[in-house]
């Protein structure tokens, strides 16, 4: 009975997202070249400069492993080292404010005036908040630009995929795939940019306001917003992973040691959506192996160049905030410790969002690569 209800609910849900599908005349290869050029134009210049040879190859060429494993390491290490330098400076600036605040805290007992202490704490907290807030604003902008970039690339993939399917004779499959993919990208773009991003920004603003007040009401509002955020993000990712599984485009591979290790690492670094992200890890592994088998190392390189800098940034940012919070705790600056630990917990939400966006990109790329196999 429950299963019937579930089936009915699923049908209703699917009907609400239905798209009109119609057959088209097969396109010639000139149109395909145009679509391919449009797709290449949509690839961000900073990624395109890393892949000149790959992009100049035509699709009919056999995939080559021109990018060596050593260069892959370079692309992994470069953003990591750059991130460590930037966030090392961020940590230094936080520690210098904390030392001054702690100095005043230590001498507080010998001073009689509580009010003077309060006023100095205000100045110290303001400095700390501005330092943290400036970096967080940059990170948020970076994360959202990463997401809009993924959506742009995804949208640019659709015409190429349709043309490839059409050229190989699978006209219906091409139409259904392009419609479905366009719908998914539009849906996820709307959920991310119109629900999750504003909620996260409002949470950050409430958090900075609550650093200067003792109002419990703000904390309550923040908790509600966080729970809405978690629910929306988890549901979106679950639906997306389910859709991938239902289409059987990316069949899950066996649960090997690497998957288990990655699941453990995800549990440490990605909060909130750990279950939905780690649950789809085997699908991600299959997607990555499909990309590697079709495009060679260059395909993995595209994923690494796109995903790694932003992931490194958000994870390092969160680690620095946690470290600074520990330093504040050691120095006895309780108020500052609360500000830092709350910001670190909010950054956890951003890490979850970026991890989901990265998964989305890997899935999209795998679907795109899968479409090119239709030609063979």
């Amino acid at each position: 009975m429950k299963f019937k209800f579930f089936l009915l609910f699923l049908l209703l849900l699917l009907s609400s997202f239905s798209v009109s599908v119609s057959a088209e005349d097969p396109l010639d290869y000139d149109t395909f070249d145009t679509e391919w050029e449009i797709f290449l134009k949509e690839i961000p210049s900073d990624i395109a400069e890393f892949l000149p040879d790959v992009l100049s190859e035509s699709l009919t060429d056999t995939p080559t492993d021109r990018v060596s494993a050593s260069s892959l390491f370079r692309y992994v290490l470069d953003p990591l080292l750059a991130g460590i330098g930037t966030y090392g400076k961020f940590l230094l600036s936080l520690v210098s404010v904390l030392v001054l605040c702690a100095l005043f805290e230590v001498l507080k007992s010998s001073l009689r005036s509580e009010a003077m202490h309060g006023v100095f704490n205000l100045a110290g907290n303001l400095c700390l908040c501005i330092t943290v807030c400036t970096v967080q604003t940059r990170i948020l902008d970076y994360a959202f630009s990463f997401f809009s970039r993924i959506c742009t690339i995804g949208n640019a993939m659709i015409p190429v995929m349709t043309t490839v399917y059409t050229a190989s004779g699978n006209i219906t499959l091409g139409a259904v795939n392009s419609g479905g993919m366009a719908l998914f990208i539009a849906l996820i773009e709307n959920v991310f940019s119109k629900i999750l991003a504003p909620i996260l920004k409002i949470c950050f603003c409430f958090h900075y306001i609550s650093a200067f007040t003792t109002d419990r009401y703000l904390n309550g509002v923040n908790k509600i917003l966080k729970s809405v955020y978690t629910t929306v993000l988890t549901t979106t990712m679950t639906v997306f992973s389910l859709a991938m599984g239902a289409k059987q485009l990316l069949a899950a591979s066996s649960d090997n040691f690497i998957i288990k290790s990655a699941r453990l690492a995800l549990g440490t670094f990605v909060p909130l959506v750990t279950s939905s992200v780690s649950g789809s890890l085997s699908t991600v592994a299959t997607a990555l192996s499909l990309i590697k088998n079709t495009c060679g190392i260059a395909g993995i390189l595209i994923v690494v160049i796109m995903v790694l800098p932003i992931l490194t940034s958000v994870i390092l940012n969160r680690t620095v905030l946690n470290l600074a919070s520990s330093v504040a705790s050691l120095l006895g600056a309780t108020k500052q410790e609360r500000i830092l630990s709350d910001t670190a917990s909010l950054c956890g939400y951003l890490v979850a969002l970026v991890a989901c966006a990265a998964l989305l990109f890997i899935y999209l790329l795998a679907l795109f690569v899968k479409a090119t196999l239709a030609l063979g």
């Binding site: 001073l111 100045a123 920004k201």
Partner: protein
């Protein structure tokens, strides 16, 4: 001046204040004020190399522009606090309160650009929702 000299001076000042000829005269207050000022300046002399160290520490970071402001706030807080306590020792409670009030106002005025900056950042963050 090191801690031994300061302690020696403190004992001398305490004994000097207790001398029968000084105890109830205006010299007693003068000794207290002189000693207070001396301790305050020594305290800052002790701390200044460490402030330099923290300043170097924060160079090239986001705190570079805010560090002078924060140290200025710290200086104002200490100066007004010590002046107020000297005034209290002299029995001038109202002057002490005024000094504290001026100190707090000065710190708040110095904090206003920071507050403005925070509002600007928040506005940028919420601006494109």
């Amino acid at each position: 001046m090191n801690i031994y000299q300061i302690c020696g001076l403190a004992l001398c000042a305490a004994v000097g204040c207790m001398l029968p000829s000084v105890k109830h005269s205006e010299y007693s207050m003068a000794i207290r004020i002189c000693f207070g000022v001396m301790v305050f300046s020594t305290c800052f002399l002790f701390l200044s190399p460490y402030f330099k160290l923290i300043e170097n520490f924060s160079k090239g970071t986001l705190m570079e522009s805010y560090f002078p402001l924060l140290t200025k706030c710290l200086g104002i807080a200490f100066l007004s606090e010590i002046t107020a306590s000297v005034c209290r020792d002299a029995g001038e409670e109202s002057i002490a309160k005024n000094v504290e009030l001026i100190g707090k106002t000065e710190i708040i005025i110095l904090s206003f650009p920071l507050l403005q900056k925070l509002f600007e950042i928040t506005d940028t963050l919420l601006g494109n929702i």
